[in-house]
Amino acid sequence: MNLVESITSAYKTLVHNKVRSFLTMLGIVIGIMSVIVVMSLGDSAKGLILNEVKTLGSNLIIIMPGKTNPKGPPSTLFGNVVTTLKYKDATQILKADNPHIESVCAYVQGTDVLSWSDNNPILTFKGVMSTYIEAEGAKLQAGRFFTEEEDNYNARVIVLGSKAAKDIFGEQNPLGEKVKIRKVNFTVIGVLAERGGGLAQTQDKEVFIPLKTAQNLLLGIDYVSSIRVKVDKSENINDTIMYIEDVLRRSHNIHNPDDDDFTVRSSETAIEAIAQITSAVQFFLVAIASISLLVGGFGIMNIMLATVQERTREIGLRKAVGAKNSDITLQFLIETSFITLVAGVIGIILGALISWLVAVVAQFFGLQWDFIVSPFSIFLGCFVSVGVGLIFGIAPARRASLLNPIEALHYE
């Protein structure tokens, strides 16, 4: 008994009863399809985040409050407020005068209603230092950004993201207009140029006010949520990270690195951490999708048991003409695996199709969303579907191989 004959036989079983074969395979098709879709969408989402790294530039260092594992998520991720990072830290780093550091910018942020005439959109305001433009590589479309003096004296000035400006003022020139956030009036002094691309496009929807104005007049806090440091060349990132850690430890009076109350990362590792969370979510979803594979597996087992019953005479005959028990076992295992493999391949094709449609829609909405179906996910799909066939084919194959040839031959 060879592979070709078993596969031919499996193929005939499939075509022999098309409706039943279709229903049998459905569970596996859906299972593999879900796995492929989840993996593909996850990969695409990771791609989106990696594009983000490119938008940010690879020569950024991000300082966050609180200590975290080098590769783990930031400690502030789940809504914890950590107050160990201060405006002073940013100025300390600036004062240290490291030749590789080009600019330093501290951030706070909040979300609230911004009022202008009858327009009251809810949006995110960011309190930033005057160095924001350099640190983020942002450009102005109109007006100017605020100065260090304005930051130091709680000036009530505001710079709008391009999308925010358009949403609030439409075609009207916003420069010189007064807007209100939490009963505080701000004068619009500038509009940023559109940045677009990936997740960074949220910046276009935000508005920017001086850091101290945000801390003192709007939020009533004395800490900052993060600090960004721009380095001259990406080769100098690691040296600069160590340098900054040194400065902060001295300023925070920390002697043992294990006691750090801050985290310094390059933009790349920060985003790798997010990618890692995406992977975890992806893994979880794949696990859920696998449940339908299990259900599909039992469906296959059920049908193959019925097939064994129907083909009792055939099995008897095969044994009479010299098939060993192992030949029969192997034949039914190959048949089951072939059916699940066909189902798997259909699932892979459908899954890829759905992922492609999602990509088309995402691109239509302006995301840099790539259609990715990794060779690994295709391999996994095939491997898993054959595996399901082998596992759930064992019971039917054993039943077939243990049939008594004499009874099987006379089975009606």
Binding site: V321, K324, I406
Partner: protein
């Protein structure tokens, strides 16, 4: 001696009840013989055939095939014996309707390790010997009863077996097709094939050279046929 059976006993146990199907049979069959095993239903002839053809094992007694004790063989070794030493012809043909005629005839060769090209070559050769060249790619379901049995004969021959077992080969056939099948069996015997025919019809049994008659699990008669029947052509002309 091809087959030697000594004190063969077969009991079937079903719960508390023990049925004695074969109660101590002894006989020998030489290579090239054409033997009928005859008896009414329940006489044990089918059980005897199953044991002789390695499908079943006796409860007691000895069975030597080509001088080799069969009872001690494992399941896999018995499968090997079925594959290489015997060919089967059944009353109900037992052809696979999912496969065509050629594939049906090739089936035993999958298990005896014959190469792919040799399989096709031999299957075509034996199908042509039983006059079915023109039916190679037919589905067995579309053949007449006689044609089906000729396919089964070709299938029984492809591994060049030592013995051909025919279990009521004419039972499901009209008389004309039945004659044809018996003629083929006689021709095969003339070419040197050993044939063991199981039947309950005296008329069919008399095509052999010798009849072993069973009743209630014992041999009540074992003698050569004096007036053997020959069919010379398909027009049912009888020549004695």
């Amino acid at each position: 001696m091809l087959i030697r059976v000594k004190d063969l006993i077969k009991d079937y146990e079903e719960g508390e009840v023990v049925t004695h199907v074969l109660r101590g049979l002894s006989f020998e069959i030489k290579k090239g013989e054409f033997v009928s095993i005859m008896g009414p239903s329940g006489s044990g002839k089918s059980t005897l055939m199953h044991i002789l053809s390695f499908l079943d094992k006796p409860t007691k007694g000895q069975y030597f095939f080509e001088g080799k004790e069969v009872n001690s063989l494992s399941d896999d070794e018995l499968a090997e014996m079925r594959s290489k030493k015997v060919g089967f012809i059944f009353q109900s043909f037992n052809l696979l309707n999912r496969a065509n005629v050629l594939e049906n005839v090739m089936l035993p060769m999958y298990y005896s390790g014959v190469s792919a090209t040799e399989r096709v070559f031999r299957a075509k050769k034996y199908l042509s010997e039983v006059g079915l060249d023109h039916r190679l790619y037919y589905n067995p379901a579309n053949l007449s009863g006689g044609e089906k049995q000729r396919v089964a004969i070709a299938r029984a021959l492809v591994n060049n077996p030592e013995v051909i077992f025919a279990d009521e080969p004419t039972g499901n056939l009209d008389s004309k097709s039945g004659f044809q099948v018996m003629k083929i069996l006689q021709e095969l015997n003339e070419k040197g094939n050993t044939i063991i025919l199981v039947t309950h019809e005296r008329n069919t049994a008399e095509h052999a050279e010798r009849i072993i008659t069973l009743r209630d699990g014992v041999i009540i008669d074992d003698s050569p046929i004096t007036n053997r029947q020959y069919y010379t052509n398909e027009n049912q002309e009888l020549k004695k």
